[in-house]
């Protein structure tokens, strides 16, 4: 009888983290294989967030004519092609189909002409929403390109009416085109990114990278494109062309998307990515014991006479001072995450004129770091480097010891937390734009003439954000 007693008279707690959305019910009814409850919960939250469950109460979904979150965790590829705003519609795949990967989306094959036809045509599907202008289109995709190309694009180009993006056209620039013209955006270095183009009016096109309005393009528009927008290729009006091997995770199109809408989409996508991922760690290294795991860590140490690494319940980087002004040594672990949460416990005891950095690197120089450098009474700093110069500088208010959490989202919000009085305390956030990409390694490095030590332990990297995780 005990079991009955428990069930009667007690209000069952709702499974859903947020109110179950009617739109989501419709979506779920249309899928051929339902995802797990936890994935459903994450998907519903995404729908809730873009439908008004956000700090601005903005119903961005109402402004979208098509949204396809390819990365949203549908077990089957066919269900990942559904339009979430209108699940009677879905995208279609080319004969040689892009590969589907759970939680990532579809990966193109430039050698075999793989692409997605979204089925979205601004003229047909936008209807009266689209007057002369107002067409907004966005893509969230990742690439692993190491070379530049003029043929890696998503979109449509019919005659002079074009709307497309080339994420890595040249060494430092992306290219956005519309209505017969193209424009170079500011620095982009590959990796994952969300591009939104909003053809605002007859003379202005807005271009967003993630949340940031990066360009207002003056253009005397002459007309709208007419045809389906492709992903992973360009629709040239009759056939697909200019294929890419990018991975696309999200496509959306709508009208009059403004800064608030872009923020809503970014926030919702960020949360979706963290919610969908499991607790499987990318790197979990407590550093207990006395032996460095050389299967994880590679020591690059050009100056072997003065720098050494050991592990004694922490990875200890010890330098008697190096003569170069460049990073002279490091201990490094590699991985590749487009977004993630980076936790650790750091001891860095200050000495003037010495630079020590705990680096999370996008590339060689582009990185975010916890750093000490040679000013007296300098606290530990959290910085984002664009090449050799930092573009974001945060005093984290600690001298030589910090238990930290860095949250790097899918749309490149970089937040620094420290563990204080048994809780994570947010110190600051920063929106990255031109420094974005997959985080590919962690390393410690030392520069400077004085001897120093830095200790690191409880290194934890995951694609899920644990708000209460204790290092």
């Amino acid at each position: 009888m005990n079991g009955i007693g428990i069930g009667i008279g007690r209000k069952r707690k709702s499974y859903w983290s947020n109110p179950l959305q009617d739109k989501y019910k419709s979506l779920l009814a249309a899928v051929s294989q339902k995802p797990s409850k936890s994935v459903q919960n994450a998907q519903n939250t995404f729908m809730y967030r873009i439908s008004g469950g956000n700090s601005d109460s903005r119903n961005t979904l109402a402004k979208l004519s098509c949204i396809i979150p390819y990365c949203a965790g549908m077990p089957l590829a066919v269900d990942a092609l559904l339009w979430w705003n209108n699940p009677v519609r879905k995208a279609t795949l080319s004969v040689h189909a892009p590969d589907y990967t759970l939680l990532e989306g579809f990966t193109g094959d430039s050698a075999n002409s793989a692409y997605i036809n979204t089925g979205f045509n601004p003229t047909d599907d936008g209807g009266t929403l689209y007057t002369q202008n107002n067409c907004s289109v966005g893509w969230w995709f990742r690439n692993t390109r190491t070379t530049y190309s003029s043929t890696k694009i998503h979109g449509i180009a019919v005659s002079t009416n074009k709307i497309y993006i080339n994420p890595w056209h040249s060494a430092t620039k992306a290219r956005i085109g519309a209505n017969g013209e193209y424009y170079d955006l500011t620095t982009v270095n590959g990796g994952s990114m969300l591009f939104t183009i909003n053809r605002k009016n007859a003379t202005t096109i807005n271009a967003f990278i993630d949340r940031l309005l990066t360009d207002n393009i003056s253009n005397n528009s002459v007309g709208l494109l007419d045809g389906d927008i492709y992903n992973l290729a360009l629709n040239n009006g009759t056939t697909a062309a200019n294929f890419t091997s990018d991975t696309i995770g999200l496509f959306y199109a709508g009208s009059e998307l403004d800064q608030t809408d872009v923020n809503v989409i970014c926030d919702a996508l960020d949360q979706l990515m963290f919610d969908l991922n499991t607790s499987v760690a990318v790197l979990n290294y407590p550093a207990d014991g006395t032996l460095i795991d050389t299967n994880i860590w590679t020591i690059t140490n050009p100056n072997t006479t003065s720098v050494e690494f050991e592990q004694n319940n922490a990875i200890i980087m010890r330098s008697l001072g190096v003569s170069s002004t460049a990073d002279a040594n490091n201990i490094k672990a590699t991985f590749d995450v487009p977004y993630g949460v980076f936790i650790g416990s750091l001891v860095d005891i200050y000495k003037a004129t010495v630079y020590r950095s705990l680096n999370y690197r996008f590339g060689n120089l582009n990185r975010f770091v916890i750093q000490r450098y040679g000013n007296l009474n300098q606290n530990l700093m959290f910085r984002l480097y664009n090449g050799a110069s930092y573009i974001y500088d945060l005093d984290i208010g600690e001298y030589e010891f910090v238990i930290f959490k860095i949250v790097y989202t899918a749309t490149h919000r970089l937040s620094f937390y420290k563990w204080s009085n048994d809780a994570w305390l947010l110190i600051d956030s920063y929106i990255t734009t031109n420094i974005c990409g997959n985080v590919k390694s962690i390393d410690m490095s030392s520069t400077g003439y004085l001897a120093t030590e830095t200790h690191l332990r409880d290194i934890y990297i995951t694609k899920k954000d644990f708000n209460t995780l204790t290092p």
Binding site: N313, A314, R318, L320, L346, I403, S420
Partner: protein
């Protein structure tokens, strides 16, 4: 082990946690973890107790010049007292408690510590203090800032000092590392590195070694059978080791191995005669070995690597490399030095 937070300690870097910690350690071994904990007074460790630390800083409150920890019973003695870091454990004397002086020119700090020589509270001005302890361990700790010494151990034996990093933000006079005073023996000291503002280690067996616990008999007792190994001295401004001996006490059976000195004012010095009344005989300082010693740089204005001011015998230095360009040896003259060799060469020459 007991998490001190269960007794009310807060890892907020502000709250004085000494009451909570003191209550917890009476019950059992404790762990200090995950945050910065401030204390205004010393943790007094009873016998058979261990303090563990991990991912934590134990910081002295502003204005506190007490030890961070010491054993609980000086007169009756303690046994089996340990403080063990399990990774990223710091003990911070708090830089605001230091005074900024030029140790070469400014002695104003003597007025700040009026009991520094011979007073009842002298022992408090070190980050830790053990007196009359049999069986101890201090390991895995990063010590930062201290009014004076990092640690003083007196009348204690069967101990281990291991894996210690010494550092300071504010340089003050008499900022020694870990010193051993009368009555210390059978101690292993190894894997130590960092910075010192003054002498790295003193072996003080004179009757005026001023940092002992002040009580009857504190200045009587030999120092012997202590090993020092794997030492990396980033910088220390005076001597790596000083030996103070006299008044009938002895220092013997001491070994030093595998020592890298990046910068120092000297390796071994025996000339602090003001800390004893009666000079030692050569039999009082004897049987000391040093092996595999590398000196990279030394102060130009200071003493030779080995500078003797007392009688001694059977001191053997092997595999000694001096890259500094400063002299290897000097002595005050008139000493009875027997069988003192550096790399097989007898000194004085």
């Amino acid at each position: 082990m007991i998490d001190i937070r269960l007794y009310g300690a807060k890892a907020d870097g502000v709250t004085d946690c000494i009451t909570a910690i003191s209550a917890a350690i009476l019950v059992g071994d404790i762990i200090i973890q995950n945050g910065t904990f401030v204390i205004s007074e010393s943790i007094k460790i009873p016998s058979n107790r261990t303090i563990y630390g991990k991912n934590a800083k134990l910081k002295m409150a502003d204005g506190s010049y007490d030890n961070a920890f010491r054993n609980s019973d000086f007169d009756g003695g303690n046994v089996n007292v340990k403080v063990i870091g399990l990774g990223n454990f710091l003990i911070d004397g708090n830089t605001v408690n230091n005074i900024e002086v030029n140790p070469f020119t400014d002695i104003s700090h003597y007025t700040r510590y009026p009991n520094i020589y011979g007073g009842d509270n002298v022992y408090k001005y070190n980050l830790f203090f053990f007196y009359n302890v049999t069986g101890f361990e201090v390991s895995g700790i990063n010590f930062i800032d201290r009014p004076h010494f990092v640690g003083v151990i007196a009348w204690s034996s069967e101990g281990v000092i291991d894996n210690i990093y010494l550092n300071y933000y504010t340089l003050t006079l008499n900022q020694d590392g870990i010193d051993f005073a009368n009555g210390c023996h059978n101690i292993a000291y190894g894997n130590i590195r960092g910075y010192c503002g003054d002498d790295w280690t003193g072996l003080g067996a004179g009757d005026k070694f001023g940092f002992n616990y002040y009580s009857d008999g504190w200045n009587i007792g030999d120092i012997h059978d202590i090993s020092f190994s794997n030492i990396k001295v980033f910088s220390e401004l005076y001597h790596l080791y000083i030996i103070i001996c006299g008044d009938g006490n002895k220092v013997y059976n001491i070994s030093f191995d595998d020592i890298l000195i990046n910068y120092c004012g000297g390796v071994l010095y025996t000339g602090y005669t003001s800390f004893r009344t009666v000079a030692p005989t050569k039999e009082d300082i004897q049987n000391i070995t040093m092996d595999n010693i590398l000196v990279k740089t030394m102060r130009e204005d200071h003493r030779a690597a080995f500078s003797l001011g007392e009688d001694c015998q059977d001191i053997t230095i092997t595999n000694f490399t001096n890259e500094s360009g400063e002299p290897d040896f000097e002595e005050t003259g008139g000493l009875d030095i027997v069988n003192f060799t550096i790399n097989g060469t007898a000194y004085p020459l």
